[in-house]
């Protein structure tokens, strides 16, 4: 896997109004990597993700994706960036008025030249990958929370984007589905070379999939750890990081 940075953030400061969440973050995400963003609740992980996909504008600094500066106001470059990324939102964000199949088919019919029958076949392949084959004609409201999550991943996968952003993919899933999801992420990463940017809390999932993690810290508003989670677990010089990976409560320190 090449070590070329596919996403890079330089001096990224984010926040809302007077509230500053993170100050001058610098990090690179390499092509073909599974990159996990960690941090305690409320430290701004999801916000960082929304900055990386251009939904929020940074207060300062810049983000580059695939060599292009992320600028939502520049229609041309933003569209080209969007064609390379897929996003799965925390709550699934499936369109409630469409069936599952229609949800997944929407980007495929819109952005490719595939014909009707081929689209249907591809949709069922996508759903098969996330273990939802046979649910094409179900409405999102008829699915459980975990199924909605997996369907949302299938929709994010629809166009086989180079970079996939997943916001808490395994939260609310049973351990088996969660492990299957990890396998799915690893397989997609190997077979298609997809770069993953994942926000998650699941320790087991982190140790299974993550090649590199960054940990955000609310107090210092900065990155306090960057590297392989297996090494950080024991070798980090930051007590909070060791505590996080070893799952120790605050008072036992």
């Amino acid at each position: 896997m090449s070590q070329e940075a596919v996403i890079s953030a330089r001096g990224l400061t984010m926040g809302f109004g007077d509230l500053i969440l993170m100050e001058s973050l610098n990090f690179d995400i390499h092509s073909g990597e599974i990159f996990v963003i960690l941090g305690g609740s409320g430290c701004g992980k999801s916000t960082l993700l929304k900055h990386l996909v251009g939904l929020y504008k940074p207060m300062a600094g810049k983000i580059t994706i695939a060599g292009m500066v992320l600028d939502p106001d520049n229609d041309d470059s933003f569209k080209r960036i969007l064609s390379r990324i897929g996003v799965m939102y925390q709550g699934g964000a499936l369109f409630s008025s469409m069936t599952l199949g229609e949800n997944v088919a929407l980007p495929i019919t819109e952005y490719s030249n595939l014909k009707g029958a081929a689209v249907e076949e591809l949709v069922s392949l996508k759903l098969r990958q996330v273990g939802l084959e046979g649910f094409e004609h179900h409405l999102p409201e008829e699915l459980s929370g975990g199924m909605k999550k997996r369907a949302a991943i299938a929709r994010a996968l629809a166009l086989n984007p180079e970079i996939l952003f997943l916001d808490e993919p395994s939260a609310g899933l049973d351990p088996i589905s969660s492990a299957e999801l990890d396998t799915l992420i690893l397989r997609l990463n190997r077979t298609l070379g997809t770069t993953f940017v994942v926000v998650t809390h699941e320790l087991s999932s982190i140790f299974t999939i993550a090649e590199r993690v960054i940990m955000l810290d609310k107090e210092t508003k900065s990155i306090i750890a960057d590297g392989d989670p297996h090494e950080l677990k024991n070798a980090s010089d930051h007590p909070y990081v060791r505590q996080f990976f070893n799952r120790q409560p605050e008072m036992e320190r």
Partner: protein, 380 residues
Amino acid sequence: MSDSASMTTTPPITIEHTPGQLSLTLSGVLDLRTTPEVLDQLAHIHKPLPKLIRADLSAITGMDDCGALVIFQLRRMAEKHGCELELAGTPAHVRDLLAFLRVDDPPRSAGAKRPRPGIMTRFGMKTIQVWDQSGRHVSFVGEVTVTLLSLLRHPGRLRLGDTVLYMQRVGVDALPIVGLISFLLGLIMAFMSAVQLQQFGANIYVASLVALAMVRELGPIMTAILVAGRSGSAFAAEIGTMKVSEEVDALVTMGFRPAMFLVAPKIIASVLVVPLLAMYSNIFAIAGGLLIGVTTLDLTVNAYMAQTMSTLTIFDINWGLFKSAIFAVLISTVGCFKGYQVRGGAASVGKATTSAVVTGIFLVILVDSILAVILRYWRP
């Protein structure tokens, strides 16, 4: 990026037709960009097909799940025309992908398609739905009534803060639009009737016409329509969204009665402020009529107002206020009820909001007509 341009010029498939064998060579990248063309070419191979289809996959450099559709298509072709399919030189990454996609598993059926019912079925379904809904409507009205009656005994249970907030949203915030529309309505009524009444030298009766029409009918009706549009819809959307995000369920499990928590403040606030709004609407309409009377009909302010006062009775005003209160109950109850009916997601909230406004206005007009008939026989 750079290879995308070359891809479009050289199709990643070459087809060779030799007697007894169809040779296909796939090469390059098979993905969402290139696959549609390959599928297209495969579909246009002229029939009949020879006994053997031989596909050489060795030159494929990249393939994703969209490219796998080509394999599916080849298999279907072979099966349909009864020929043999031979996949040669499958690269490791392709084999890997095909294993990952479990291409050998039979596709599980997509389940029954959502049936598109015929016209009779839909008619029947709609009828059952209306019947069903009227049952639910009755039980909702019953629950709300019980809740409101229980408030008479324990007035402390009313959420006062919410009630005041809704009084502001339904009443105070509606003042500008109600004022403006009523003023213009009075103005137009005076203007139009003046043309007719002037012919008989009955200028002064413009004042009577505006006052009576507004206070007895149009004031309450216009206000009700505006409130239905502004607040009935808002109630439905608010409760509907709460329903979607399980907030209503949370209220129930926390031991609150949604009817007390959500509905009672809205109904009580509406009943308190909508009559005031109607009153306010009357004043502005009379002001509009006055403006026309003074500027185009040579009436003095005194004469116009004296005529207005002598036309209106206390009963007229009370009747208008009474009707407004009834309308307020109708609009707010329907708004809340439609919110409760929401199931599913965003689209359902939209439907409920529309339905709240339409049903609200319909009921207002219907009840107004009934009241008009009752009044006709009660006070001839």
